[in-house]
């Protein structure tokens, strides 16, 4: 019942075209994709290191999912809008969110960390599935703005929402599918099936592929190799183009693997063997793209050295930036609960600030 995920690149870097994944690789800045994937991985590994040093409370690693995220993100126009889960550091990177700002949530200095409107990249959502409905609502807004199906490439836009395989089981996610389908909304659901929801293997959620879910709601589902950045890019580009032009939603399943524990707090030795991990390490998405680019002489050692230097710079910026993230002011929660602070809350704030001041 479950078909093989579609791919364009073999692990050794051979490009094989696919009817279902239209792409002209010559038109793609593949080196940029590689750079984004490398930088993304560095953000991730630096954050893990910062967590180990006690600078972050927790970090959800994306190791192994770089192709899925960078591929999906590469399909976006600036005016498209993204709703992430808590693991889309690669998408954030591609959208231009300062990676230092990704750390605040996990350092405990903020609940958000960036202005969602600045890069059309919304805040991380920790409640599984909740963001799928926000994406649907935003897409309804796009329809009402008349920014769909106009044929004007400067105007049409769509929403890309990320979710995990576990999120497929939440009622809210399925309601999002209902709304998107019934109203033919410009929204693309991008599910990274990394095969685990913390300790639950995908079999706890379902016996059929993620992509198949869409059929039940009457829209298109497509299953791609999530470790193949070109496959992810092609599928998402097609889906976003369809959404922008008024042809409704798509569910993309990027079949991949969460190579690290769920978060730095998780102990995955309790529920899975390293052997599985070895297999997926051998399917590393960065190596795959590198093999392709080196094999076809699209990049050289110079390029890789330059990216290596950039990485280094980024790492230093992250470390310094993390430590420099300002603690929130004690009045922060009070000032940001309502547009205007109610009297009783102001009293509470005054009481609180007096405690804080007296060091009590």
């Amino acid at each position: 019942m479950t078909s093989q995920p579609l791919s364009l690149l073999t692990q050794d870097g051979t490009y094989q075209s696919q009817m279902a994944l239209p792409l002209d690789p010559g038109s793609i800045d593949c080196a940029q994709l590689l750079r984004d994937m490398i930088m993304t991985r560095r953000v991730d590994s630096e954050a893990i290191a910062l967590q180990r040093q006690g600078e972050l409370g927790l970090w959800p690693s994306l190791l192994g999912q770089e192709a899925a995220q960078v591929g999906a993100a590469a399909s976006l126009f600036p005016r498209d809008v993204v709703f992430p889960t808590y693991r889309e550091h690669g998408v954030a990177w591609c959208r231009g969110v300062d990676p230092v700002n990704l750390l605040g949530l996990f350092r405990g200095t903020t609940m958000g960390g960036w202005d969602p409107t600045e890069n059309n990249f919304n805040l991380y959502t920790l409640v599984i599935g909740a963001q799928t409905l926000h994406a649907v609502g935003y897409a309804m807004g796009i329809v009402r703005d008349g920014d769909v199906g106009t044929g004007d490439p400067e105007r049409d836009r769509a929403v890309l929402v990320f979710l995990g395989d576990g999120a497929l089981s939440e009622g809210e996610t399925n309601e999002a599918f209902v709304w998107a389908a019934a109203q033919n909304l410009p929204v693309v659901f991008f599910c990274q099936n990394n095969q685990w929801a913390i300790s639950a293997p995908y079999s706890v959620q379902s016996r059929v592929a993620v992509a198949q879910r869409a059929q039940g709601f009457g829209f298109k589902g497509i299953r791609v190799d999530g470790n193949d950045v070109l496959a992810c890019l092609s599928a998402t580009r097609e889906a976003m183009a369809a959404a922008r032009s008024g042809n409704g939603p798509t569910l993309i399943e990027a079949f991949t693997y969460r190579r690290n524990p769920h978060t730095t707090s998780d102990d995955d030795g309790r529920y899975r063997s390293g052997a599985e991990n070895d297999v997926w390490e051998s399917l590393d998405p960065i190596e795959r793209l590198k093999n392709y680019l080196v094999g076809s002489n699209k990049i050289d050692q110079d390029f890789l050295s330059k990216v290596g230097a950039e990485e280094q710079e980024l790492a230093e910026k992250l470390r310094a930036g993390c430590r420099a993230l300002p603690n929130p002011a004690p009045d922060h929660p009070f000032r940001n609960t309502y547009a205007e602070m109610p009297k009783e809350l102001e009293d509470q704030m005054i009481e609180h600030l007096s405690f804080v001041e007296t060091g009590a």
Binding site: T110, M111, G112, D115, P116, T117, N122, L123, T125, V127, A130, T132, L133, H134, A135, V136, G137, Y138, A139, M140, G141, I142, V143, R144, D145, G171, E172, E175, A176, V178, W179, A182, H332, P333, R335, N336, T337, Y338, A339, P342, K343, E344, L345
Partner: protein, 328 residues
């Protein structure tokens, strides 16, 4: 729109308020089950889809999480959605979106993002309905920081408050006392709505303060009438805003009267009455001549409708509480 006050029931006043809001801001839109051609089961949105089209008045799929969740997304996209939950008992599938998303988003975004979403809910009992159609869920919302919770008690208040709620940049839970939907009153359609969060003294008095809201307001007025005959001047306060609570108005009143009774339909434990009692005894301990007494629904599920008349706090139970207050 006419400048002449006209007489209409609460349901029509809400309809007029929504229509005004939609006319004056084309980002205002409505979302809910059966709100289009049917005009809602209580007809509050009657004619609005016809007037504003089905992109602005949306018949939603049957899912409350979807209604509130997509309203959040719409608000992020610059709209001001007004959701209708068909009955009080059906708001619970939306609780996750309301408490973990809607209420917290301003805080999460460090104050950068407002979610001006209104959630209208017909509430309360007394209409002979079946299960889940007579609930009073205000305490869940009033406990949730980040939400405003308001309830009108008259056609004028309904008209004013719904317009103010739509204009409010915070999420507003707008509770409509369903058994009084057809209660008529004068409505001045040219009135500029006042602040949402003020309580109002609807009948001044010196001997005891009676705080009520929504459907119990007419009962509270009647209580005051009966007391007046007995020579007791009861000051009746319409709470209007259940979160935030207008402490000032209540405290100044109780400082004068020394006695306070709070009435609501919702179950007693951990309800609005508890909150008001708790605040008042703390703020003006020495002004109280008697304990604050709550007259409320009991701590049971809402009963079968054959029992509701007796189960609901009514004239006699409130009068009894007042007697008890004076017995101190």
């Amino acid at each position: 729109m006419t400048a002449q006050p006209s007489t209409m029931p609460i349901a029509h006043a809400l309809n007029a308020g929504l229509r005004d809001a939609m006319e004056s801001d084309d980002k205002v839109m409505l979302l809910g089950e059966d709100i289009g051609q049917l005009g809602g089961v209580f007809r509050v949105t009657d004619g609005l889809q016809k007037g504003f089209g089905d992109l602005r008045v949306v018949d939603a799929p049957l899912g409350e999480a979807g209604i509130v969740g997509s309203a959040i997304g719409l608000a992020m996209a610059g709209y001001r959605p007004v959701c209708e939950i068909q009955f009080d008992g059906f708001v619970f599938p939306a609780m996750n979106q309301i408490t973990t998303q809607l209420a917290k988003y301003r805080h999460r975004s460090d104050g950068k993002i407002s979610l001006p979403v209104v959630i209208r809910i017909p509430v309360g009992g007394g209409i002979g309905a079946i299960e889940h159609h007579s609930e009073s869920p205000e305490a869940y919302f009033a406990h949730t920081a980040g939400l405003k919770v308001v309830t009108p008690s008259s056609p004028q208040e309904a008209y004013d408050m719904i317009r103010a709620a739509v204009r409010c940049d915070d999420p507003v839970i707008f509770l409509e006392p369903k058994r009084n939907y057809w209660l008529k009153g004068e409505v001045d359609l040219s009135r500029i709505p006042g602040p949402l969060e003020k309580a109002s003294i609807v009948r001044p008095g010196e001997d005891l303060t009676l705080v009520a809201y929504g459907a119990l307001l007419p009962v509270a007025r009647k209580v005051a009438d009966v007391c007046a005959e007995e020579g007791r001047n009861v000051e009746v306060i319409d709470l209007r805003s259940l979160s935030p609570i207008d402490d000032e108005t209540i405290l100044r009143s109780v400082e004068r009267t020394g006695r306070l009774v709070v009435a609501h339909e919702a179950s007693r434990s951990v309800g609005l009455g508890s909150e008001i009692a708790s605040r008042v005894q703390d703020a003006i301990f020495h002004s109280l001549e008697a304990p604050v007494i709550r007259v409320t629904g009991y701590d049971t599920p809402y009963p079968a409708s054959r029992l509701e008349e007796e189960w609901l706090p009514g004239l006699d139970r409130i009068l009894d509480a007042i007697d008890r207050s004076f017995s101190y």
